[in-house]
């Protein structure tokens, strides 16, 4: 799985949950402000990423997530740590 693949896959998962087209989603996009990610969608998103990549997002990582880029980086980091 290349980093580029992960990026486009995470964007596709975010698109599926938020309903916004992948073309509107870039690493700089804010999850709450641009994509209307509320508490329900935030849980859906973390659960979907954990399931897809068999990773476990720690409680301490969660408050740091604000943009699409941050969640892509976190996912990549957790995958590489196995």
């Amino acid at each position: 799985m290349t980093n580029g693949n992960i990026e486009s896959e995470v964007i596709s998962i975010i698109s599926d949950i938020s309903g916004f087209d992948p073309g509107e989603i870039t690493p700089e996009t804010s999850l709450p402000d641009d994509l209307e990610i509320d508490s329900i969608k935030a849980i859906e998103l973390t659960v979907a990423l954990e399931k897809r990549y068999k990773i476990s997002i720690r409680d301490s990582d969660i408050p740091e997530i604000n943009t699409v880029g941050q969640i892509i980086d976190l996912t990549k980091r957790l995958i590489s740590h196995g």
Partner: protein, 473 residues
């Protein structure tokens, strides 16, 4: 802007509960041609009212929350221009919890509620403030921390005192039908913030005013509402929805179908095994629904002086072991141990309810009257002395009644049981693997209660509008 090429409608919505009505209004407002089909003769689902012997009773939902500035209900009603059409009143206090040692009042002013809790549990003063501050100020993403936790895990992070934990949890047991050790922390915390800290709202003369206003607005926006009409099938071809088949065999076509109905019906009956993968059916078959409720309706001639304030929900907690109380309700002992009662805003009726399991028509035929009298006696001996002498009309809705009117599986009051393991079940996402088919309502496992299903109805509509590229924030 309708794009119904060769189709009867752009969207067909199954079920005119609050979720279906809100979804329909948003779509119709965006210019789509929408049909809502409802099997009951009036809209509302669990948010309906009925008249008997001159009394008006709310059938199940008896108040709602989340109408503060920025709350889900406020946003939805504002967006549909209904905020000025329905008179929305807030009853203060919204809830009172009565236990053997405490009477705790939930005021519209949260600071006052905090003070009251702090006076009752001074050793937990700081934790009470931190708990409520966290729930009212956390960012949306912060709630992701709760995704695998139970409400008990969440409470244990803040509190030592088991009595305080039980008092906070009793309205969650009543409104979520699970005790703290089983209900997800997310659901528990949302019930606490949206139903208690921002609860007590009431629409017009009775709860029916809310679905009626939504239905009226939906029609004004060009929508068609068909009541007393059952959908028999959702038609799918090459993994794409084509429309629905109504009970008399009429085919109605549409580009999108939104099911706001019970999820088992959607997958097993409306779609069926020819359309849905076996693994998905197997998964849904193994899921646990929430408990139902037994609702008591009393008409009274003169209100006893001991009655609580009209419009306030009063919870009776006989002891602090919510796990055992839940099991006694689930296994249906002959007694009713914990319950909620409410003197209606029109000061003529009382509604009370207790969590109860599903039993068939025969069971309730034998037991209903006995249960009504047990319930009246219970209220009389715990909260309202002299009640039975003022009752001039009595009736009840059993779990079977809930099933009969809404077709919800096992009369479930709150959709699926909200265990952390069932929360956000991927198979019940709002977008489905079938192109054009969406799910909404409390059977999606996302959330429950009137603000919850209003949010889901709005969100399902937004997903469709985003697909159509006509969504405007």
């Amino acid at each position: 802007m309708s794009n119904t090429a060769n189709k009867d409608y752009d969207v067909i919505i199954i079920g005119a509960g609050i979720g279906g009505l809100v979804c329909g209004c948003y779509l119709a407002k965006a210019g789509m041609k929408v049909l809502i089909v409802e099997q009951h003769h009036k809209p509302g689902g669990y948010c309906t009212s009925f008249k008997r012997n001159g009394f008006t009773f709310d059938a199940a939902a008896h108040s709602f929350g989340s109408y503060r500035e920025g709350g889900n209900m406020r946003r939805v009603l504002d967006a549909l221009d209904l905020d000025k059409r329905i008179e929305i009143k807030r009853y203060d206090p919204s809830d009172i919890i009565i236990s053997p040692d405490y009477k705790i009042t939930f005021w519209a002013d949260t600071d006052r509620t905090v003070e009251e809790l702090q006076q009752a549990f001074p050793e937990e003063s700081e934790s009470i403030r931190n708990f409520i501050r966290h729930l009212t100020t956390a960012k949306p993403i912060d709630f992701a921390v709760l995704r695998r936790k139970t409400f008990k895990d969440f409470l244990d992070r803040y509190f030592q005192n088991d009595r305080l934990k039980a008092i906070i949890s009793i309205p969650i047991l009543g409104n979520g039908a699970l005790p703290p050790s089983l209900i997800s922390a997310f659901t528990g915390s949302k019930i606490f913030t949206e139903f208690l800290l921002d609860g007590g709202y009431y629409a017009g003369e009775c709860m029916q005013a809310l679905p009626d206003a939504l239905a009226e607005r939906f029609k004004e926006l060009g929508g068609t509402l068909k009541t007393s009409c059952l959908v028999k099938k959702i038609k799918v071809r090459d993994n794409e929805v084509e429309g629905v088949v109504l009970e008399k065999g009429n085919n109605v076509s549409a580009k999108y179908v939104v099911s706001n109905a019970d999820a088992r019906q959607t997958f097993f009956e409306l779609l069926g095994s020819n359309v849905v993968e076996k693994d998905i059916l197997h998964k849904i078959d193994g899921m646990v629904p929430s408990l139902s409720i037994f609702t008591l309706y009393l008409g009274i001639d003169r209100p006893p002086a001991t009655l609580p304030k009209a419009g306030t929900n009063v919870w009776f907690l006989p002891n602090y072991n919510l796990e055992d109380l839940y099991l006694s309700a689930k296994n249906m002992t002959d007694d009713i141990e914990y319950f909620m009662m409410r003197f209606s805003p029109d000061k003529k009726t009382i509604l009370a309810f207790a969590n109860a399991p599903f039993r068939d028509r025969k069971f309730w035929y034998d037991k209903k009257l006995k249960f009504i009298d047990t319930f009246i006696r219970k209220i009389e001996t715990t909260l309202v002395p002299g009640l039975s002498t003022r009752v001039v009309y009595k009736d009840a809705a059993t779990p079977y009644t809930l099933y009969r009117y809404t077709l919800n599986y096992k009369g479930a009051a709150y959709g699926w049981a909200t265990f952390p393991s069932q929360l956000f079940t991927p198979e019940l996402k709002m977008t489905t693997p079938i192109k054009g088919l969406f799910l909404t309502g409390h059977w999606t496992t996302h959330t429950q209660g009137i603000p919850g299903v209003a949010y889901l109805g709005c969100d399902a509509a937004k997903l469709i509008l985003k697909k159509e590229r006509t969504y405007k924030k």
